[in-house]
Subunit: 401 residues, 2 copies
């Protein structure tokens, strides 16, 4: 189930090779999963010697998860089915006006109800999983602090459980961690055991995969790299410290250096890139500065973690083609030689990453025991930030096909 | 075997509880290990109800490892036996004069021969394991670069293998990583799954335990935190970059600020601490500056890794009592609140840490199959920097007794 969920349709003989089970056992398991409505089979491709082996594919509607996202400037919901298929999705702008957790969740619940009404003829969703721009405590799933949201100590899982009343488990996770999980399982980090995703918008955060496993730290707070103190004489950060990396490398810093301080967002960033294309020296210099500051923080991460690959997501992915030269030059100066091998790539899943990662967080619980439908809302499942993910048992290198 | 090796003598009934095996199976296994000369048994303590359960202890001479250390200003060798017992040890100063790998290894070999002659009546050593102040490549065990040693691309394992001609496996590892392993298994990090050891002398390095496992990175280079680019307008580092953390926090920086630039070492550091005790404002200010720069780098590590505990070793342990206030104050300003929980403690094993860690690297291979004596020199064993350590199978919290 894990194999077809993560790596797509596979023939019965591929599954026999992959699992090391014999074909008749694989046949029995596939029959069981088919009876549960979790997989479909279709005829195999002809033309290979012998009888074609049937192709087994995940049934997207076999298990569906309601994935939610709460960002500084947007909220989103998606219904995501087995195999990682996005079956329905809606996104809405969120004004950066400090609206309350209750108001935000109420708006999100409205979006969810519309999404689910459109699927009234399908089996009910089995779990809710939320990606939020903040620090989530793994012991209870609460949001400890969402600096850019202006939130603190929000019982987020409970708020969503109550607001949606679906009677299913609710998982919560940090947006950067979940987007990293998604990139590791389905994006730029497939097959890469030492992988960092760096996410930049106004705030900056990282998700870390080390030795094939998510690095969560003692309390699930690892990867708060926006607050690396890299600029001792620098600006005051909203967190209260001086010179945090995000004050030099976040979206605000680019806007400020480009003379566009004020309200940001993708359109303003695109405008600055267009100005650079047109040869505007202020815009070009601002982007180079972002590239150089990206390199400074990446050098810190590289020296600490020695990753094989670093994916840049969000606003960083947008500016990467423009900032690449400045970034590479500065990294060449800063990284000691044997560590300079880490490749810097754009994240692949785009804006869907956090939603896909949130869904995987829920799927992972269920994949441990695929026959356990419906999922029961166990208390310990609300606090899933530290779950070891699917990658632990799936040889991701074999899945990169 | 792992249990008595790492946590000391245990009664047969403790071992039955620990392993989940019944007492007769434990008795059979103990008999087998006793026959191999790997454990001793002695009578249990009277006074508890029922027949006292015999106490099983590792036999230090059952397996012995020759642990070596190559530092900037010293070389050392020790014979370390099962249970982590240091049976013999010798240390010599090494001038910071850039002496060659060959000359250094030749001196070390002389020390080893003297040590081993003193043990001519004991069983031969079973492995050699080397802790070196540099970056060791896990694919072949070579030293890629030892910046403070002035070495580059040294086939260290082969050099030692040839020089000592003992026909046993040779392991190599980074000094910081091995000292961290030792602290995790036997020192300040027992029972702590998210643990960082920060080692400071002239150079600065860290060893990282994340989720209970050593974090080695793609090529075994993780933890090169001396080169975190924390001081953008700072001094040139010997690595070629500007503003590396060790230029602000290493021993040289303290000496420079205290007006004692020149040859360093523990005696000079002690002198500066004595001056601070006597109220010398320059010495006090220099130590405070070290404390503040320690906090800056620790904040970077804390935001990236969210450790539960950080142990400071080497010169950092020496200055910690004097620098603690400045460190705590600066960390309070720099670390976002939920992450500020990491406790900062001195390392416990002192100068023996790297040797003990080197021995554990060798023991770990053997503990996977305790009956495999003598150890065979398998090629893949020379490159053991990435070994998952004993901690993976031993519940360290239960061992902190």
């Amino acid at each position: 189930m894990r194999r077809v969920h993560l790596a797509g349709p596979a023939s019965r003989s591929d599954l026999a090779n992959y699992t090391g089970l014999n074909r008749s056992t694989v046949g029995d398991l596939v029959a069981e999963l088919t009876a549960l409505g979790l997989v479909h089979e279709r005829a195999g491709v002809r033309g290979v010697p012998g009888r074609p082996s049937p192709i087994v594919a995940a049934n997207p509607n076999g298990i569906t998860v309601l994935a939610l996202e709460i960002f500084n400037d947007s909220i989103a919901a998606a219904v995501i089915g087995l195999g990682g298929r996005i079956l329905a999705r809606a996104r809405a702008e969120r004004a950066r006006d400090g609206s309350s957790p209750e108001a935000t969740v109420a708006r999100l619940a409205g979006i969810c109800r519309t999404l689910l009404e459109g699927r009234a003829d399908q089996p009910p969703i089995q779990a809710i999983s939320v990606a939020v721009a903040g620090v989530v405590r793994r012991t209870d799933g609460d949001l400890v602090v969402g600096p850019n949201l202006g939130w603190r100590d929000v019982p987020l899982a409970d708020l969503i459980r109550t607001s949606l009343s679906l009677g299913v488990p609710v998982f919560t996770g940090n947006d950067a961690d979940l987007a990293t999980l998604a990139e590791h399982l389905r994006g730029a980090g497939i097959g890469c055991d030492d992988f960092v995703c760096l996410w930049g918008e106004v705030g900056v955060g990282a998700g870390i995969i080390a030795g094939g496993r998510p690095l969560s730290g003692r309390s699930g707070f690892a990867g708060e790299v926006g607050h690396l103190p890299l600029s001792p004489e620098g600006r005051l950060c909203h967190c209260g410290a001086r010179g945090c990396w995000e004050t030099e490398v976040g979206e605000d810093a680019l806007l400020r250096r480009a003379g566009r301080a004020g309200s940001g967002g993708p359109l303003v960033v695109d405008l600055i890139l267009a100005m650079a294309d047109a040869g505007d020296p202020v815009a070009i210099s601002a982007i180079e500065s972002s590239g150089r500051w990206l390199a400074i923080g990446l050098a810190a991460l590289i020296h600490t973690l020695n990753p094989e690959r670093i994916a840049l997501g969000g606003f960083f992915a947008t500016i990467l083609p423009y900032a690449r030269d400045a970034l590479t030059a500065a990294l060449g100066e800063l990284a000691i030689e044997p560590l300079a091998v880490a490749t810097i790539v754009p994240a692949r899943l785009g804006a869907d990453g956090p939603l896909i990662g949130a869904a995987e967080l829920a799927f992972e619980h269920w994949l441990d025991d695929p026959a356990s439908v419906p999922l029961i809302d166990r208390p310990e499942w609300s606090s899933a930030a530290d779950r070891r993910v699917a990658a632990k048992e799936v040889d991701a290198t074999r899945l990169a096909i």
